[in-house]
């Protein structure tokens, strides 16, 4: 969406160049839209505390990738995150976004160019959903028409129907919906960088899983640079291209791809953090869209049931999936159910086992177990139906995935002051391109 990027000139100025030098494999999916971030020997000291909260951290965040900060509470991961948009001012060091040192630019201006999502969305209760999302574009002086169009576009993007939700107030939304609006607000002005502080901490596990899937689907479209703090290692594995594991004082213990951290934990601290059952965690590395999906018979509300039934019998499948006008699944019907009805109704079955194509096999298995079915419906971008996954496929994929482990050169990240002047472009590491069967965000 380059038309929204115009106002981001300051941070976007070099994005084309950096995207080129990154030679990033994600450019295959569309235009590069993120910005590279480099923390250079960043230190944060609070008065009256002997140890720094963050001590001499150098960290490279490649453009267009998702980097997860994990670590025990109080380890400085949130402090590090907030120094990127200067909600917390670093005591020493430089923060370089797209080759530009932002440590001495106006903080408010900087923050308007960086999306920021916090737990429960951080919505303003006295403003409607639309007004919340419109805040940053308004500050940037967009005209009303453009803002209104953008609000609707964003609500669509986060799977909320604009006509229904635009004029609601935050308290009229569920936790998951509030979080979605929070993401929409952060993306409003199409910032190249998105910072997320425990974004999915306040919602129930099933909603969390859906929100994670959606975030990945959105990232597939937009290729932002996302930095996300979490204390949940599973979440880090699922969302992250790279994971940074911190210990106290923001000491970087390991910074690598999820596969490699799982296969080769740097030390005992990382091992204890990964927890037991690292083998089973492989399940969290394989995504549904890499598994084989079957294509069932589909139908629309209003179709004659007998037609659908004959097609289902011809196909030999167990279910016919009913899709709404946007190709979102609303029911699935067996031959027996079909034989009892005349026309397909448009009612929505809330119990459908649905997983996003970005979901992990772990999620898919969960969903099947909860729904006590051997299948789950898989949806792609904006909730559109793309196929059915069954339990046999999952077990097969686990077997396949077991042996695979990737070789990759991780981006730079260290704590000592040893590394001097690392140029942003020069340190742009390539994404692993050696056909990792387990990394879902490519190809």
């Amino acid at each position: 969406m380059p038309e929204h990027a115009a106002h981001n000139a300051e941070l976007d100025a070099e994005s084309a160049q950096s995207a080129e030098s990154a030679g990033n494999s994600q450019s295959a999916g569309g235009t590069e839209h993120g910005a590279a971030i480099l923390l250079q020997e960043v230190t944060k000291r609070y008065p009256g505390q002997a140890k720094p909260a963050v001590g001499g951290l150098t960290l490279e965040i490649p453009s267009g990738s998702v980097v997860m900060f994990v670590g025990p509470s109080g380890c400085g991961k949130t402090t590090t995150l907030k120094m990127i948009n200067r909600l917390i001012e670093p005591t020493e060091g430089e923060i370089i976004i797209n080759g530009k040192d932002v440590t001495d630019m106006d903080g408010d201006k900087l923050r308007r160019q960086i999306g920021y999502v916090i737990q429960a969305g951080g919505l303003f209760p006295h403003m409607t959903v639309a007004a919340n999302i419109a805040l940053v574009p308004k500050m940037l002086g967009w005209d009303k028409k453009r803002i209104a169009a953008r609000v609707d576009e964003l609500l669509e993007l986060v799977s909320l129907d604009p006509a229904v939700y635009r004029d609601r107030y935050p308290k009229e939304l569920s936790g998951g919906q509030q979080q979605r609006v929070g993401v929409a607000r952060a993306l409003a002005a199409d910032p190249p960088v998105l910072l997320m502080d425990e974004p999915f901490g306040a919602v129930d596990p099933i909603t969390r899983q859906r929100l994670q899937d959606e975030l990945l689907a959105i990232q597939d479209e937009l290729h932002k640079t996302i930095v996300c703090v979490t204390h949940d290692f599973e979440e880090a594995m699922k969302l992250g291209d790279w994971i940074a594991i911190f210990d106290e004082g923001a000491q970087l213990v390991q910074y690598d791809s999820p596969e490699r951290i799982l296969a080769q934990p740097a030390n005992e601290f990382v091992e204890s953090f990964i927890g037991s059952g690292a083998g089973l965690k492989q399940l969290s590395l394989t995504r549904v869209k890499e598994a084989e999906l079957s294509q069932p018979v589909t139908a629309s509300p209003g179709d004659a049931a007998s037609d659908v039934l004959s097609r289902l019998q011809g196909d030999g499948g167990r279910y016919a999936v009913v899709l709404d006008s946007r190709r979102r699944p609303i029911q699935w019907l067996t031959a027996r159910q079909l034989s009892r009805m005349q026309f397909i109704s448009d009612q929505v079955d809330q119990e459908l086992p649905i997983v996003g194509d970005q979901a992990t096999l772990n999620d898919a298995l969960d969903e099947m177990l909860v729904a006590t079915t051997g299948n789950a419906l898989v949806t792609g971008p904006r909730g559109a139906f793309i196929g059915i996954i069954d339990v046999e496929t999952v077990t097969q994929a686990i077997t396949d995935a077991r042996s695979a482990s990737g070789e990759s050169e991780a981006p730079v990240g260290l704590n000592s002051g040893a590394m001097s002047a690392v140029a942003v472009a020069a340190t742009q590491e390539q994404e692993p391109d050696d056909a990792l069967p387990m990394d879902g965000r490519e190809a």
Binding site: R111, Y116, I118, F124, M127, T128
Partner: protein, 191 residues
């Protein structure tokens, strides 16, 4: 009267905004609003004759002073009751200090401030009547005239007229203020 209330609201909110982020100043403001209310209004009016003489001016000063106290207190409570995460979210999307105050903090604190204004409106009615002592305008004149001639013809009636008048005015003002609350408190935070 209503002008005094508006003036008091503006002053109280200004003081609250300036002090709420500085703990010792906020404490001081809270203290003043508590102690201030214990000063007998009659004594206060008497004291004001010195600097301001007789007439409407000392009455306005005293009424505004007392009216500001409950509003100040509620404004402090309301502003400090805005959740820290909300304020941080506002900072995080690049809102400056003033914009945060006007578009987030004050609107969110407004229901509490508004209830302070209503308390103030009630209280100030009684004080305004007393202000008639310094020859200010208002129904208080009836009350004082009646009281000074107590036992005389129609003296009691005169007092009753004054008191009932004040009560009716207070009720009308409160109704008005309820209307203002309805109009100014946004739907998303209405109880």
């Amino acid at each position: 009267m209503v002008q005094c209330l508006i003036l008091a609201t503006v002053i109280a909110i200004l003081i609250a905004v300036l002090t709420v982020r500085i703990p010792w100043l906020a404490g001081l403001a809270n203290g003043v609003s508590a102690v201030g209310l214990t000063i007998p209004s009659f004594a206060m009016i008497g004291l004001m004759i010195g600097p301001f003489g007789f007439g409407p001016l000392p009455a306005v000063v005293v009424v505004t002073f007392f009216a500001a106290l409950p509003i100040l207190r509620n404004a402090l409570v309301g502003l400090s009751g805005v959740p820290a995460e909300t304020v941080e979210a506002a900072k995080g999307i690049g809102m400056g200090r003033l914009r945060r105050l006007l578009t987030v903090e004050l609107p969110m604190a407004w229901p509490v401030i508004m209830s302070g204004i209503r308390v103030s409106g009630q209280m100030v009615m009684g004080i305004a009547a007393v202000a008639a002592y310094v020859l200010g305008p208002g129904l208080g004149t009836f009350i004082f005239n009646g009281l000074s001639r107590l036992g005389g013809a129609n003296a009691l009636n005169q007092v009753v007229v004054g008191v009932v008048g004040v009560v009716i005015l207070a009720l009308i003002l409160d109704l008005l203020l309820i209307g203002v609350s309805r109009l100014t408190i946004r739907r998303g935070i209405r109880a």
